[in-house]
């Protein structure tokens, strides 16, 4: 089938035409008026502007928490963001509910109404489209933080419109996250087109000197395996966004539990971003900071003590790595949407760690870390170069072909177009290695390295590592181990 998508900026006229369609999806679309929105954005204080907040944090040598939050009833949401903000959290994420994300706005409306009627939330996030701009500005104005809403493909364009008009100043534009974890049927082209729309919208603001940041999450890491595909796809997302006019991108390092590997990734990822942004001519795109993230989608420990262990551990690695912000979950993660109290206690524990560790500027450098950096760099470079090659220099075309060919691939993906052939396990020190490379274009000597590490563990444990071992490792963290054991299967 012919590939139509191109790495090319959408014409302003065409874009304005497209907007009409987007805004007509729900009646609150009428509340979005671009010139007014630009004016509103310009009136915001620095403390509400994502990239400025991050830059300030970085200058002050501090590190902040970047949590999650979202609940349907406006008053509750206001209370939640205020209490987060009072804990010293200046970056406020904004989770929309799953009906909203899938443009099932009638259902979102019903859920919202039932939540209001019973006083108990039945939606798993804030239905931003149903609430609309006027209401959502109240939330944004309720506290002194920079907002970053979350969505997936279906509603991404309209959510972006409402969010920016409401004064939010960052938003992920991670179409690979949709492929990995949010959208079952969309084609890669459809995903890229949706991302191009949001990029173009942010570009429209940028043309008018309003800088909105895009955080790049990449292909969601649904298991225990190296982050090279995740990082390569983050960079592709950054490049696609940059072409549309995005001027500020924010890398996310997924902290998987091996300190050597995580610290290696923290150090190499911003360099790789810079390299490819510059290589493809986006020299004026800034990287205001980096976020460490407890995102690797491992199941969380169910008991409170172990949950605190995992949260503070992630916070420690992030602080040792000197990232600017870190996203940690809450002690309720395994059980349900966190209460306000769990948010507070969880974030207090992480904040304690950040402040105490970060002040010390402890230098950690060793051959293991340097080795992880070299490996990540070699893998990401090999993957990105192959993608560019597949697209004859066009990263959008290359991305479509790469997914089709399994050159970009990740296990347990939701999207039916993903190959789902890759698999990973931990080595004896807990670093994630490829057990099955699928069709990833990993250089042969690096493949050999993975095989050796796996052979080492197989020898030590006297068994073959396979799909079941991979699952054992996947559950390990929830059971208080890094490396899984047979008992976990």
């Amino acid at each position: 089938m012919e590939i139509k998508v191109r790495q090319k900026r959408i014409d302003e006229d065409k874009f304005l035409e497209m907007r009409k369609g987007v805004l007509s999806l729900w009646h609150t679309g009428k509340e979005v008026e671009l010139d007014d929105a630009v004016g509103y954005q310009k009136s915001l204080p620095d403390s509400k502007i994502f990239h400025k907040v991050v830059q300030r944090v970085r200058e002050e040598g501090r590190m902040v928490l970047f949590p999650r939050s979202g609940t349907p009833i406006v008053e509750d949401e206001i209370e939640l963001v205020r209490s987060l903000n009072e804990l010293g959290i200046p970056l406020i994420p904004f989770t929309t509910d799953s009906y909203t994300r899938n443009l099932q706005l009638d259902k979102a409306q019903k859920g919202l109404e039932e939540s209001i009627r019973t006083g108990k939330p039945v939606l798993n996030g804030y239905p931003i489209i149903n609430h609309g701009v006027k209401t959502t500005r109240k939330v944004v104005e309720a506290c002194d933080g920079a907002f970053d809403p979350r969505c997936s493909r279906m509603a991404n364009s309209l959510v972006g419109e409402v969010a920016f008009a409401s004064g939010m100043t960052a938003m992920p534009n991670s179409f690979f996250a949709w492929i990995g974890g949010y959208d079952k049927k969309a084609t890669v082209e459809e995903c890229i087109e949706t991302a191009q729309y949001l990029g173009r919208l942010i570009g429209y603001y940028a043309d008018r000197d309003v800088i909105i940041t895009t955080d790049c999450h990449g292909w969601l890491p649904n298991g225990v395996y190296p982050m090279s595909v995740n990082i390569a796809t983050q960079i592709i997302e950054a490049l696609i966004s940059a072409e549309q006019g995005v001027k500020s991108v924010f890398p996310q390092i997924n902290l998987q539990g091996s300190m050597a590997q995580d610290l290696g990734d923290i150090r190499i990822v911003p360099k790789l971003y810079r390299k490819y942004l510059d290589k493809l001519g986006y020299n004026d795109v800034i990287i205001p900071g980096i976020v460490g993230s407890q995102v690797p989608l491992y199941p969380f420990p169910q008991d409170m003590g172990s949950a605190f262990g995992y949260i503070t551990y992630t916070a420690t690695v992030a602080a040792l790595g000197e990232v600017d912000a870190c996203f940690v979950k809450t002690i309720d993660e395994a059980n349900g949407i966190p209460t306000k109290e769990s948010h507070i206690e969880s974030y207090r524990s992480a904040k304690w760690i950040f402040d105490v560790v970060r002040q010390q500027k402890l230098e950690i450098d060793n051959e293991d870390i340097r080795q992880e950096m070299r490996i990540t760099e070699a893998e990401v470079t090999a993957i990105l170069d192959r993608v560019l090659e597949l697209g004859d220099g066009d990263i959008a075309v290359g991305a479509v072909k790469a997914v089709e060919a399994g050159v970009l691939d990740s296990p347990f993906s939701i999207n039916i177009h993903a190959k789902d052939q890759v698999l990973g396990v931990r080595d004896l020190k807990g670093a994630c290695r490829y057990l099955d490379f699928g069709n990833l274009p990993i250089p042969e000597e690096i493949k050999e390295f993975h095989r050796e590490k796996i052979a080492e563990r197989e020898k030590a444990e006297g068994r073959k590592l396979d799909y079941h071992a991979s699952l054992e490792d996947f559950w390990a963290i929830s059971k208080g181990q890094l490396i899984g054991t047979h008992a976990n299967s």
Partner: protein
């Protein structure tokens, strides 16, 4: 084992696909005939697949907390579709927050068995075998 057909998937727009993929493979490895619908499957598709394959059980997952909204009237629709002998299992994070009455609420919705988060599949496999035996299907 006789040929037993089981439908799997997450219901509604729930995107949590990892669990249902693992569940499907565990069922297959245990010898079941599995129709894996994957994530984000509307309730109607579960019913359609069950009708078409004359399935014996549905092993439904929902993690995103909105299953109750998704499954209003589900049992009635099953009955209307002639699925009166099918086993209905559901597991995952079934409410927005942890709560004690979840099992009761889903039993009311017509489910035969309701499982808490992170249930070990070994338990579910044993239950399924028992229930199928009780129905004389095994």
């Amino acid at each position: 084992m006789k040929d037993i057909t089981v439908i799997t998937g997450t219901v509604g727009v729930d995107a949590h696909v990892i669990g249902t993929k693992i569940v499907s493979r565990a069922l297959r490895d245990a010898g079941y005939n599995v129709v894996a619908l994957g994530a984000q499957t509307p309730p109607e598709e579960f019913i359609k697949a069950a009708q078409e394959t004359d399935a014996d059980a549905m092993i439904m997952s929902s993690l995103y907390g909105m299953a109750e909204l998704d499954l209003q009237g589900f049992k009635d629709k099953c009955l209307e579709a002639g699925l009166d002998d099918i086993l209905l299992y559901i597991g995952g994070n079934l409410g927005i927050a942890k709560s004690d009455d979840i099992e009761m609420r889903f039993k009311k919705l017509g489910f035969d068995r309701v499982y808490p988060p992170a249930t070990d599949m070994k338990i579910a496999l044993a239950d399924l075998q028992n229930d199928l035996e009780a129905k004389g299907k095994l």
